[in-house]
Amino acid sequence: MAGNGQRDVIIQVRGLTVGFGEHTVLDAVDLDVYRGEILGFVGGSGAGKSVLMRTIIGLLPRRAGTIKIFGIDPVFSSDDERHSVERRWGVLFQQGALFSSLSVRENLQFPVREYLNVSQRLLDELALAKLELVGLDASVLEKFPSELSGGMTKRVALARALALDPEIVFLDEPTSGLDPIGAGDFDSLIATLQRTLGLTVFMVTHDLDSLHTVCDRIAVLADHKVIAAGTMETMLASTHPWLHAYFHGTRSRVANAAGPAVAR
């Protein structure tokens, strides 16, 4: 995990430029994500955090640059290669993006059914196993997404992201809209899952507590670039004005005080 001498780069972003019309959102961004780490990705609202994430997972086109995931650039590879990469990641969207016309059970089984040919019994048992991994139980299986609370939706969406046992999970603001206790639970859930399943986690977040408690490394997006990437200590020591304001603002003091004690 983090701290090993040789670290395996699982996502490599080089010179990535993304823009819409006249507006350039990302300008020659470089970023590395190492295998087995939890990377917290921060930046001001509208700085392009979600744009970077969506570009990495292939939802947005880029103007220039390369993105290599497991050594493969999905844009410049065959359909089969791209599918094999897509099969190895899971994405948790900000609003959950559960299929509203399918029950929780069907939502969880949908990707498995498409990619693997396994028995209905195994599908059912694994749907339950994934639900229990994210801290829910069988009582939600037959519910529809519109009947779930915000926290439950996030958990079910995480369970669906994990349905195929991915190696990387992308989380877009996983704790937004959750109460502090729920957010704390979700953080420890992500840390537990990361340990249990050996995941690599790419987490876009604004939650300073998440950054302190679960993230191994933090990357910061500002002025259309990744201006810093490193551990919490590096961030706190930085003199960059935006970083200083972000990590030393009033809202961060409490988190700073509590942070090191509970860091993993």
């Binding site: 509203s100 016309s101 498995v112 990619y115 693997l116 040919n117 396994v118 028995s119 195994l122 059912d124 048992e125 694994l126 339950l128 196993a129 994934k130 229990e132 991994l133 139980d137 069988a138 299986l141 037959e142 529809f144 997404p145 519109s146 009947e147 994990l162 195929l164 046992d165 537990t192 340990r195 249990t196 399943l197 050996g198």
Partner: protein
Amino acid sequence: MSDILLEGSTEGERLRLKAAGAWIAENARGLEAEIDQAAQRYPGAKRVDIDVGRVERLDTFGAWLLERLRRGFSARGADTQVTGLREDYRALFDELHAVNPETLPAPQRGGLVHALAAIGVAVTAVGGTLAGIVNMLGALGLALGRVAVNPRRFRFTSMVHQLDNVGWRGVPIILLITFLVGAIIAQQGIFHFRKFGADIYVVDMVGILVLRELGVLIVSIMVAGRSGSAYTAELGTMKMREEIDALQTMGFDPIEVLILPRIIALIIGVPILTFLGAMAALYGGGLVCWLYGGIDPEIFLQRLKEAITVDHFKVGIIKAPFMALIVGVVACVEGLSVKGSAESLGLQTTASVVESIFLVIVMDGLFAIFFASIGM
């Protein structure tokens, strides 16, 4: 699959199972078959050791199948033990140890009872829709009353905007379709009437049919498909995104703010469209009579004057606002009954169009009886 992932050997009542290779999702199908076989092949084992030391990769699928294998023997009273589990897989295995598939709800059964239940649900749904329509008419009446008392509460801008959408923007397509329908009727009439030398009566047929029935029917059906569906989808999406709840909490009546302007726009727009549509159909009919039937435009107009009266025109135009009301009310009722899912939005939009076309035709029949009995 070529490589064997599970091997067994017995020593009396003691069974040793050796798991090897990749116990991962891709192999899940083969693995499941192997563990089921293993459970059947060694029914008498009293002590089972599962050695997983040679498992190279393990994910949730593999770990669960391992757990299922262990439970299968345990359930038959065997003493089971998993050995050689790598330290980094222990946490995953322990997590799955706690999963209890007996808590899985039984899948719902289909069959006859299910089909009968579906019929019952459909019948009550029809009743529900009718109740909803009556309810909406009442609510509209109340809102109209409040607006009449205090006219400044009426959303005039919103009404004009809707009128632009359902009326003005609908003119080209309505003109085109009614023109074509008028032309087709005239052509068919000429073709068949000519056989017994009655081609001039085509003018009577086109005139009466278009003014009394076809103009208003075609326009109503077009409006149900064009604007009714749009109303349902708009209101349904607003319902899904809690916009209607937001309006209510700000102290606005959604009926007054959203629905009244839409329905008034329809009631104003549909008669205008009906008039324009009828004119286009007569024009289409006249054109075909001239080019295909050899009836000069002057003769056509002369004959039309004799064949139709203002009553025919009135019958068509009087029906138009009622058709508009039906289309609008059904569309709004269906829009407000959208639930949280995308599927429900699609269902309600379909229901809105189908129901309003059905009711428009039923209403047209009732009007036919009514006008016949008052002699119009």
